[in-house]
Symmetry: C2
Amino acid sequence: MTGIGFRPGQAKENQQVTTETPRRQPTLEEVAERAGVSRSAASRAINNAPHVSRAKREAVQRAIDDLGYVPNATARALATQQAGAVVLAISGDDPAMFADPFFAEIVVGVNSVLEETELELMLSLATSSRGQARLEQVLRTRQAAGVMLMSLHGDDPLAALADNASVPVVFGGRPLNFEPRYYVDADNRGGARLATEHLVAAGRRRIATITGRLDEGAGMARLQGFQDALAVAGLDNSLIDHGDFSEEGGSLAMTRLLDRAPDLDGVFIASDQMAIGALRVLSKAGRSVPADVALVGFNDITSARHTEPPLTTVNQPIHALGREMAKMLLALMSGDQPSPLILPTQLVIRSSV
Amino acid sequence: MTGIGFRPGQAKENQQVTTETPRRQPTLEEVAERAGVSRSAASRAINNAPHVSRAKREAVQRAIDDLGYVPNATARALATQQAGAVVLAISGDDPAMFADPFFAEIVVGVNSVLEETELELMLSLATSSRGQARLEQVLRTRQAAGVMLMSLHGDDPLAALADNASVPVVFGGRPLNFEPRYYVDADNRGGARLATEHLVAAGRRRIATITGRLDEGAGMARLQGFQDALAVAGLDNSLIDHGDFSEEGGSLAMTRLLDRAPDLDGVFIASDQMAIGALRVLSKAGRSVPADVALVGFNDITSARHTEPPLTTVNQPIHALGREMAKMLLALMSGDQPSPLILPTQLVIRSSV
DNA sequence: CGCAGTGCTGGGAGCGCTCCCAAAAATCCG
DNA sequence: CGGATTTTTGGGAGCGCTCCCAGCACTGCG
């Protein structure tokens, strides 16, 4: 192309070739030419690097405006060897898990800080093995400048891999049996403890819990918080049944619990969804909430406001979680070594206790 | 760095330099060399293009496995002039809008079909003007191979731009006053009509509606469906008040409606969130649902199951919406010209009528 | 007035891949 | 078995950008 298509002395004027519609995006080369400077100078001006005279800088700016130039991100990424995108990855086994509004809000939080930067957000639902493989590739080939990894169960092989990947990785939540180098988490244990203490303070003495999935860090932490509180209060903390965070699971667990300990008068439930299920079982069984048995949930989902009675629950700052993950990633990417962060949770008192 | 760390005559053998950990990803060049073929041949083998002998193909494959080679997506994108990612963009004015579980489910749907391809998913919450500008750039510079654009209000300038962008764009939902070339939408009008007919069939005669935002296609369509049904039934269809899809908005509208037409006996509400708000107002006002006034909502959010009484509502196939958008985009990208698609909505009968 | 110092400047060499194309090798067929 | 086909092969030229570096034009100062 160099000298074949262009007869010198002809290609000089490229202004207003309005006939041809498929106008390619102008390139840096064209901007430079139009501004009467070299590619290098133009590049410097654009990235406002030093060593460009004021005059050239302005000429370049003018050319950019005239041409409507936008740098080609791909070329830049190739040249600089670093991508202009970060990925938010949800690893797990259930494809539909992401449908939890929790993640939607995380995304909003993450987005709010990314918006201030030039970084794009890629979403990776690494739920199938295919998805996991692709995430692994991204990790290895640095197609992304950084990764936020969430919600791994038990011994997710991705966890270790990610924590040592050549790209910065921050974890959202702590996977079980594994303390990542960089993470932000909610104080699940503290929140659960708060919830349980609230039950104790309300005079309940026969307190049970319905746990979430215990192969997740959050599930386990909430159970520990429950036990912490009861241990301090000197109450029996062995009234435990297991759910899977779902409404269905909550119903089942509540049924079993009622069967096993008909005299229970309070229960801490590791998710609002499960609490809703439990509530249904309780009302079918003729127990009034909170008169007969008091309930505290976890998560503060919007439905929690609309149950009968409205659910007392533990709120975790999801939006902030997202924000902080993104901020931590940014810090990591710029070479800092941020400390892990644990965000506080709060008891939201409504009417179920 | 070129010649400082490496004394020539030393860097020739790069096999097993296991001391240095920061092993770069192998390049195509290296694969080719190891397989004893040319770059071109290796490239062909990898993209399994024709004109490669069986022997070379295998040699290349072996080299790939040995080296753990993964093609560099950026370089490929630059060379082929087409990106390996598509973007799902939510355009609108409210940053938190995405927190609606609706979008989460759309994402899951979209992801389920993208997972079968090599395409990555980028998320663009084009809610600030900054975000919009960036989306516009993506559109113009083809940083993405395609775009799915959702939920634009009224006269979103992005709409027209997108519909004529040089990259394939499919719309999710139809913006008002604008029929995109390619879109998939839910049958909002039909669903609203169904809902209203249900109210009529239940013997209600004084039927009102609380609309959603009328600057959105969905809001308007639901209002039209409502009017369609009442026109057919020969009933007064002027009992209309406006909400904004939110619970708060629903409460307000219901209050006004009750004030204006104390004798109403049925109301079609354009979103479940608003219905929840309305329900609260109704119960405060001492009206029993459905005995005094019957309610039908729209969306079938999970909370709708847990209201008192459980809400009869219209379900739209959100997951399918996501899937179909992605499928349509894929079709478009491969050169087809798919027809717009309208997905059916369904009445979910619970106890509020 | 010459020379070191300082800041600009633009050419060139990549980044890792694709793809065109001419040349070489393999195949066919009268 | 030679020439015409057909297939395979690998070199080279990009894709659009960054960044190194040598070359310049200034400035200031002894």
